[in-house]
């Protein structure tokens, strides 16, 4: 993420805070952005606007993992490093490898890896519980 893009994102965060002041602001960056860049942007905006940061969630697409690990390993590691939550997504579509095999590969780069499938409400619920406001009664 370049400097001007980071500045644009910070400006958007401030604008949304000023105009809408939502309880939650969800950010979906492009697939090329790594977590460190998001942390930097969040910290930049924090100088002018009050908000809480996190969780920073990284989804690792399970079916595409073998190809992505072979071709874009640095990007995957960059997205995993610093993330509060790493989740293997679309595990229901895995054919050639198992979640445990992927976990084994990624274990040196993160503490824990959740599983996430939109068809599994339990996994979605578990993910939601990482957001304090969702977990509170």
């Amino acid at each position: 993420m370049g400097c001007s893009l980071a500045t644009s994102l910070v400006d958007l965060i401030k604008k949304i805070k000023r105009i809408h002041d939502p309880e939650f602001l969800f950010i979906e960056p492009s697939e090329m952005v790594v977590t460190q860049e998001l942390q930097n942007v969040a910290a930049m905006g924090h100088r002018d606007v009050r908000y809480q940061i996190g969780p920073l969630i990284t989804l690792v697409d399970a079916p595409q993992f073998p190809f992505m690990w072979a071709e874009r390993q640095r990007l995957i590691i960059g997205q995993i490093n610093g993330a509060d939550i790493v989740a293997l997504s679309r595990t229901d579509r895995l054919e050639d490898s198992s979640p445990d095999e992927i976990r084994k590969v990624l274990r040196p780069y993160c503490n824990g890896i959740d599983l996430l499938s939109v068809h599994d409400s339990d996994s979605l619920e578990k993910m939601m519980m990482n957001v304090p406001e969702f977990a509170a009664p």
Binding site: L12, S30, V131
Partner: protein, 62 residues
């Protein structure tokens, strides 16, 4: 305001997860907003933004 970022490659389910969290927030009567990169694989269609009243801002290139 709480900032929640969802990273990942195209097709990894970022939009789906964000929509699910925004729906949960709406169910708890907590307003939310979205900043998405313009080249996202799945759009935040009008139904989502209108039904839940979630403003979506797009970031070019980011």
């Amino acid at each position: 305001m709480r900032l929640i970022c969802v990273s990942g490659i195209k097709g990894s389910g970022k939009t789906t997860l964000i929509k699910a969290m925004a729906r949960r927030a709406a169910a708890l009567d907590k307003p939310s907003a979205v900043i998405a990169n313009e080249s996202g694989e799945e759009s935040y269609e009008d139904g989502f933004t209108n039904d839940l009243k979630v403003p979506v801002q797009y970031l070019r290139g980011g």
